[in-house]
């Protein structure tokens, strides 16, 4: 029984290690900045998730006490990672993309990052 438990924990650790390595390799291999942005969002999901699952299994099955700290790490990562990615993406659009390079924004005509650059004085929303 102990062997199976160790096998399970080792499996989670190896899975997370593989995805961590692939994510880092992607940072080198992919050439354009927007594609590079995909690598870190990958490492935080399965890469970190595997370590956390292994940690929960270890504390529950081997040390025999319930530890759910790890769920919080997942929760905080899921809150912070998309915001970081969005900021980097917006920076990229701001510095490197012209409105004509991006797909049509439909009835709004411009994407928010470009729209802010065009408006000379930002409208005052506090009155409405």
């Amino acid at each position: 029984m102990g062997f199976i438990i160790e096998l399970l924990i080792a499996f989670f650790l190896i899975v997370s290690g593989i995805f961590g390595v692939v994510g880092s390799y992607g940072m080198i291999k992919l050439k354009d900045p927007m594609s590079r942005l995909h690598a870190p969002t990958k490492a935080t999901t399965l890469g970190v998730g595997g370590v956390l699952l292994a940690s929960i299994c270890h504390s529950v099955l081997i040390e025999e006490h319930l530890s759910l700290h790890e769920l919080l790490i997942t929760l905080f990562l899921f809150l912070t990672a998309p915001i970081t990615a969005l900021f980097i993406a917006k920076w990229h659009i701001h510095r490197h993309e012209k409105p004509s390079d991006l797909p049509d924004a439909g009835e709004d005509e411009l994407w928010a990052t470009h729209a802010v650059e065009q408006v000379e004085d930002v409208p005052d929303h506090s009155k409405s």
């Binding site: 291999k29 700290h69 809150l79 924004a105």
Partner: protein, 166 residues
């Protein structure tokens, strides 16, 4: 009586969430941490209440659970797909694409959840909103068929979020 309760607990779900997070942070199930978590869970929503104007009501709790499970499953599947793209596809063959997802959602909270979900599922990163918030700009790592990606986002995530929030 109910109005009094509502003034003491302006945001019951936040109270519950803060208590659970505090107990998890303390990482031991004692009455001590539970009571202190409850105190924080009552005080924080009470103080921050003015910053939560017109919160949306979550309508469909089974759908919330279904949504979380669908997203977790998609993260696992998409991770494998993206790992294959990185390892086995030559960089010249890869077809990165910008796609525009027209939004039916109007609640800011729902759009935030949708954008976050798109970023967390590997292979897609939500990059910008259109000026009035009617479209979402998404970057795909490898999309031979951009329309299929857009349809999948709309049918898998947006439809469920619409049932949850609106």
């Amino acid at each position: 009586m109910i109005r009094l309760l509502h003034r003491i607990f302006p945001h019951p779900h936040l109270t519950l969430l803060l208590t659970i997070v505090w107990v998890l942070l303390a990482n031991n199930m004692t009455l001590n941490s539970l009571v202190f978590g409850l105190i924080l869970g009552i005080i924080i929503p009470f103080i921050t209440q003015p910053y939560w104007p017109d919160r949306p009501k979550l309508r469909n709790w089974p759908m919330v659970v279904e949504y979380i499970l669908v997203v977790l499953w998609d993260i696992v599947v998409a991770n494998v797909t993206v790992a294959r793209v990185i390892l086995f596809k030559r960089d010249a063959d890869r077809q990165p694409a910008w796609i525009c997802v027209p939004l039916e959602l109007r609640t800011p909270e729902a759009i935030t959840v949708l954008a976050g979900t798109i970023t967390m599922t590997p292979g897609t990163v939500s990059s910008d909103l259109s000026a009035q918030g009617h479209n979402l700009l998404v970057h795909c790592l490898d999309a031979p068929d951009p329309d299929a990606v857009r349809d999948q986002i709309k049918s898998r995530y947006e439809r469920r979020l619409k049932e949850i929030f609106e």
